[in-house]
Point group: C3
Chain length 346, copies 3
């Protein structure tokens, strides 16, 4: 397979970017500033990497106008170099090999409807009253239960489970190991007179609705609603190992990094950024355009856009132990300072 070559002039024209340097300069792939060869295109978006500009061997660099003078390679100037890079790099993506049709090993229920242009991979199971839209691709080992709909051009990479009553919009991309539509964690404690008792399962009667252009990471779980549905609006992007509990509602264009978790019935706005490992407790609301930094825990509703955090900074363990021990008496410390202030006033 020979990779296609693209010249500076071609790329500038194709993506509507200004260029500096020899328009005939050509590349056949992408790299980082540090690793790119003269045959590759790199980009500078994160200022963290600006120092690498001086020594890059990249044939072409995509960058902001302000950085162009520091670059000896040919340049493409972009208001947002990362967006421009994303579009250019797509030229080099290897297509998924998926031809229309149902693999002979797959098991499809009699009442399921699979579009003729869809591709169903080896060992897929599709249950009763479910449907797969035009051009959708299900890789190996996908398990689709009852009453699920997979939207047109959706891509379930491999080993994705839709349990039941799950609807995926168009072009939804789901990575392996994701489980969508499992029972929410609904339990009522049935106490006996003696103070003992046991758990009763609360039936989970709702489904999951996922809008168009969403992405769901590997081993992420999204439970179906107890009553009504768990909802992701359009263009929600979830990284790996995220947990979305029953009846959560996530607004359009919100992105969550790996291992974030949202408890039941929480409502998250649009254009939010939820950092890696961050948590949101149940039954609260987060406004639009809120950023939660990594590992922070949101314990009450947030009504103003902005950036929010919790936790303590990392330190060498000995210093941390001393400080952490003091945290246990912080309230008392404040009272001692209050006492000193009172005495100072006298």
């Amino acid at each position: 397979m020979t990779a296609a070559r693209h010249t500076l002039a071609d790329l500038a024209a194709r993506f509507g970017l200004q260029s500096r340097g020899d328009g005939g300069q050509s590349i056949d792939g992408v790299g980082t500033l540090e690793t790119a060869t003269p045959e590759q295109l790199a980009f500078l978006a994160n200022p963290h990497y600006r120092a690498q500009l001086a020594n890059t061997q990249a044939g072409i660099v995509v960058l902001r106008e302000a950085d162009a003078n520091a670059c000896r390679s040919a340049c493409l100037i972009a208001a947002d170099p990362y967006v421009a890079f994303a579009k250019i790099a797509a030229l080099f993506e290897r297509a998924v090999a998926a031809s229309p049709g149902i693999h002979p090993s797959a098991v499809v229920a009699a009442s399921a409807r699979v579009a003729a242009s869809a591709s169903i991979g080896p060992f897929c199971f599709i249950g009763e009253n479910s449907g797969v839209g035009e051009g959708a691709v299900l890789g190996a080992h996908c398990s689709i239960g009852e009453r699920c709909q997979v939207g047109a051009q959706a891509h379930l990479v491999a080993r994705v489970t839709l349990v039941r009553d799950v609807t995926l919009g168009k072009r939804v991309l789901v990575h392996p190991g994701a489980v969508i539509g499992a029972d929410g964690f609904g339990l009522a404690f049935d106490k006996t007179a003696s103070g003992q008792g046991s758990w009763i399962k609360v039936p989970q009667l709702g489904g999951v609705r996922i809008g168009d252009d969403c992405e769901i990471g590997a081993n992420t779980t999204i439970d179906r609603g107890a009553i009504g549905d768990t909802v992701l609006e359009d263009d929600v992007r979830l990284d790996n190992q995220i947990q979305i509990a029953h009846n959560v509602h996530v607004g359009a264009h919100t992105a969550m990094a790996g291992c974030a978790a949202v408890a039941g019935s929480a409502r998250i706005g649009r254009y939010c950024l939820i950092g890696g490992g961050a948590g949101v407790v149940g039954h609260i609301s987060i406004a639009d355009k809120v950023t939660i930094t990594a590992r922070s825990l949101v314990t009450h509703s947030i009504v103003e856009p902005g950036e929010y955090s919790s936790g303590t900074p990392i330190q060498d363990n000995r210093a941390w132990r001393r400080n952490a021990a003091r945290f246990k008496h912080l309230d008392e410390l404040v009272r001692r300072v209050q006492q000193l202030e009172k005495e100072a006033k006298q």
Copy 2:
């Protein structure tokens, strides 16, 4: 499919509840206070939602006696409205379609024993010397290794893995992606004279025993013991993405919310509530009836029942940064206050 209708009088009689309103009032489903139609039953348990009582359109509301006067709909009075709702909602659960027998695509080892009334779904694999009890249901893609026992009426929804030496009690419910019985993380560092070295795997020779009526969430992992077994007593309820390490022992009726994690050989009591994302370090014990709030980390044994927490509250990022920076010098701050107190006494 026409949903069954149930009248107020019928429900009151069936579940032993008092009622207020027209006994002929009937419903054919359930909803929330906010979304229920006059054809649906709703409930009020969490005081957070009390204000919704005034405007609910629900045909029937299950609530505590103290809330009944504020409700214009027909009511069912329950000491614990959530328990009563759980029982009523079960009337509307759609049964899982599973007929007895082994799907022709399944692979069952010669020495495995599957009860005639059990249902084994497409692409299931059942290994040597394993057994599946009466009425048990294995959905698609379950993988059962050697020497495992699935109890009567247990339900493995789909794509559940029992690695080996795993015993599930009666009526255990396991959600997709759960992995029970993988190797515990046992490693010994074999140091060389130079201070370098490499890891040696500690054989994981035990199994996993899970009692009756337990529920195991999607993508939850429970490792088998190193020596002896990892144990969940009866009626333990685990949400999604929980990690239970080797040789952990969890007491009956304990529930853990999503993403909680328990390290090796920890022992957790009965009737505990472990919040979402909470952690328990290895080789410690937690007494009965302990509640750990979300994201807290338990680093030492807890001997008294009660509620325990760690962490800091969420704040806007700028305020948090200032406070977090001060935390790094908290011990020094205490010493400065001590100095001021000493000086004040002089």
Copy 3:
């Protein structure tokens, strides 16, 4: 099956250990100090369990010389009893039943190359241009995409997914549910003039390279690189539910406990120990021989070996609430103390 018996003298000779007691004393299995019978061997490594030495029924105990006098059973003396125990316990491990060959239910692409001595289990799928080395074992339900290489003697226990462009070294052990080679979470926000916009996927063009003797836990996820590869050097040990983002580099002999997470392009040194649930943000470096305690979040590069921590200690909830509330005003408290100090000097 009769377990093999081993005498004290045999074990001492075989593993190069000193012994105390009757050389003819024999055992046929292992146990803990608390549970071992006279037919079993136990060990004492963690001082936490030293008190159990007095009452152990174990036939043989592996321990440090300093502990030997307190032990009434026959002893094997080891500089590192846990390492010695790991080697001895391996005598009792039950071999995985895997005979060479491809199970008739497996689907193997025409261009895939499977060594004759490899074992491919039921319902495995192996994609185009992938290879499986000599003696490798793939348990049931493994899904291997395009251009993957499984090293000689590697063991994919069951239901492991290699998405594409993944290379596993020799003797790599991967537990069920692991997903290696899914897309990294690369997104560029394409803002419109109005301040709205939507996400563009950044193509993930790299792969994953995993060295020899690595272990990957159940439901752990390792994404492939955006440009270039995500890399684990030799003898890296990952527990369950760990998230390794795109382009992370993990040095040889580093071990991470369950639920740890490493964000994109972070670089972790050799011989590091990353505690359970610990996190590392993206684009930073951690030196060799760094220990991060459980649940700590690393937010900046660490250049010195040592132990590092963040977080606050667990307390009863009422005390914690008071202290946590004060944390929100910690910066102000420091200013008040500064003011008192200023006044005291006057």
